[in-house]
């Protein structure tokens, strides 16, 4: 009887899931491989890779946009780590006056929409010569990503505490040894989470890159947007699939690399 109930439940959930959340994704994947999909037909009129040929062979912007998107995400992470690592330590392991306010200040950009800051930022960057430059886009990307990096790392610091650090210190470990063998391994999961979020957020910025990049910095969203808003549906789907797949792949690759590093570190121990 319980099994029956379980099964019914499973089916209800599966149905909701498939109908509303997965059907659109599957439709997009199929559309990207369809030759033509005239209106009343439930299935595409034929399968081919024309749209993918266009994306990878005819449109030269595709490869360069992937490169530039990854470069921007990477640089954003570097800046975030450089300035965010100590802040995460402070929020995770210290109690101090004004901590609540500081947490508020650090987290605030999460709810600030790019459009609210970017117009003013664009005006000033124009004067400073930072528009149409990689640095300008990276700096603008730091605003929405840094809070996530700090929050992810600070939760790592919080669970790490001081005890392992103190123990290592007692055993005579230097500051760098402690960072290398205590802090870094302990923070690895937080680092993976924080960096992954940074990549996802940085790579999906559209209006920021469009304005600050002035149309010269062509990241994937900038290149694909015209196809998504009223262009060829197969090409739009191919770009949409490619972009989502890349987001997923980047996360997986990062996960695997860092976990392997972690595993090797464990073996050495």
């Amino acid at each position: 009887m319980i099994d029956k109930r379980l099964k019914i439940l499973l089916w209800i959930i599966l149905l909701v899931l498939i109908l509303f959340w997965l059907t659109p994704i599957i439709t997009m994947i199929i559309t990207s491989f369809s030759a033509r999909w005239a209106f009343p037909n439930i299935l595409p009129d034929g399968i081919n890779t024309e749209a993918w040929d266009y994306v990878f062979k005819q449109n030269m912007d595709t490869y360069s946009s992937i490169r530039i998107t990854m470069l921007i995400a990477f640089l954003t992470i570097l800046i975030n780590l450089a300035v965010g690592f100590p802040a995460a330590d402070a929020l995770g392991r210290y109690n101090f006056k004004g901590k609540a306010v500081t947490e508020l200040l650090i987290s605030m950009p999460i709810v600030l929409p790019p459009i609210a800051i970017i117009l003013g930022l664009h005006r000033t960057f124009l004067r400073l010569g930072l528009t149409e430059s990689l640095l300008g886009v990276v700096l603008a990307n730091v605003i929405p990503t840094l809070p996530y990096m700090i929050r992810a790392l600070s939760s790592g610091f919080e669970s790490l505490g001081f005890k392992w650090d103190d123990q290592a210190k007692m055993l005579g470990a230097t500051k760098w040894q402690r960072i290398r063998y205590v802090t870094f391994p302990a923070l690895l999961p937080s680092l993976i989470a924080g960096s992954s979020l940074c990549i996802l957020i940085s790579a999906s910025q559209y209006v920021t890159v469009l304005l600050i990049g002035g149309g010269l910095i062509k990241t994937i969203p900038v290149v694909m947007f015209p196809f998504l808003s009223g262009g060829n549906q197969s090409i739009g789907s191919a770009y949409g699939f490619l972009f989502s797949g890349m987001a997923l792949m980047l996360l997986l690759i990062m996960d695997v690399i860092l976990k392997r590093l972690y595993g090797r570190h464990k073996k050495v121990k």
């Binding site: 109930r5 994704i25 960057f125 972009f243």
Partner: protein
């Protein structure tokens, strides 16, 4: 020796502040540049900027943004609560199954798998989620084809306009599609964090699982529901890409009008756009402040509960 110890102590006192400085300076220099420049521009051209507040289009946009965000948030919260209820029942039946003599430790918790599956849309970028709604709910989309095949509609135009429509149904759909998984991501760990002792106790007192969900688990999650609902509201209220792609030419949401006024070309419109972006800024600032205040009082509440 004594001096160095003194140094150590003093540095320890100010250490967290020193550690925080680089982040705070970086963030608030960048945000400050954006905000101050927009405010200065507004003040410098006060007359043209204030025209914004006497134009009916502005209020129309504000109303549309508010309505879309409110509807989407309500729907996302409702859907999340409903889906979590199903996931809860699923865990329950699984637990009962586990209590039978054959204890199979390798069985995977289906509720966890489903909660993961529901989170896949979070990996789909916002822009793409808008496109998915267009592919599925547009007049030439999958739903329209299905309704044609089933005989509900007899032509492409007979299918209701759900995308790029003035009432913003497509935008709401995209928001709900994207934010419900976020709600589940936030709420599922909270739901499962409650000690199963409470469930056992509720059983002792003869409480039905359904009642347990609505009167124990839901209040347990209430604060997180309010918090993540707030985040969803603040996000959808000012989000740009989805309304830019799925919105009608008229009326436009605040964010889309701000962008189009800014890039429109006329200098007067540029000033109005900057003023509009300040309206967006202060709205999100206010909402954000409320959300985090709420979260912090909730944390204090939790700590207080632990101490007593």
């Amino acid at each position: 020796m004594k001096a160095s110890q003194n140094n150590l102590r003093r540095s320890k006192l100010s250490k967290p502040y020193r550690l925080l400085l680089p982040s705070l300076i970086t963030l608030y220099t960048l945000i400050g540049i954006g905000v101050v420049s927009a405010i200065l521009e507004t003040l410098k051209h006060l007359n043209t900027s204030m025209q914004l507040f006497s134009s009916s289009d502005f209020y129309l946009s504000l109303g549309l943004s508010l309505r879309l965000a409110f509807t989407a948030t309500l729907m996302a919260v409702g859907l999340a609560i409903g889906l979590l209820y199903l996931l809860f029942l699923l865990t329950l039946t699984q637990q009962q199954k586990g209590r039978t003599p054959t204890k199979n430790t390798s069985t995977i918790d289906p509720s966890r798998i489903f909660s993961r599956l529901f989170q896949t849309p979070m990996l789909i970028p916002y822009i793409v989620s808008g496109y998915l709604v267009f592919l599925t709910f547009g007049q030439s989309g999958l739903l329209s084809r299905l309704s044609f095949a089933l005989g509900f509609t007899d032509s492409i135009t007979a299918f209701p306009i759900l995308v790029n429509d003035p009432s913003g149904i497509g935008i709401i759909l995209a928001f709900v599609w994207k934010t419900t998984p976020f709600m589940i991501l936030m709420l599922y760990p909270v739901m499962t964090s409650l000690d199963s002792k409470f469930l056992d106790m509720s059983r002792v007192f003869g409480m039905k699982p359904t009642r347990y969900y609505w009167s124990v688990l839901l209040p347990h999650m209430a604060s997180t529901i309010a918090f993540s609902g707030f985040i969803v509201f603040a996000y959808t209220l000012t989000s740009f890409e989805v309304p830019y792609m799925l919105g009608a030419t008229y009326p436009k949401t605040l964010s889309v009008s701000a962008y189009q006024l800014y890039t429109g070309g006329s200098i007067d419109e540029r000033h109005m756009a900057l003023t509009m972006s300040m309206v967006l800024f202060f709205i999100s600032l206010g909402l954000g402040y409320l959300a985090f205040k709420h979260a912090q009082s909730y944390q204090k509440h939790l700590q207080g509960g632990r101490n007593s």
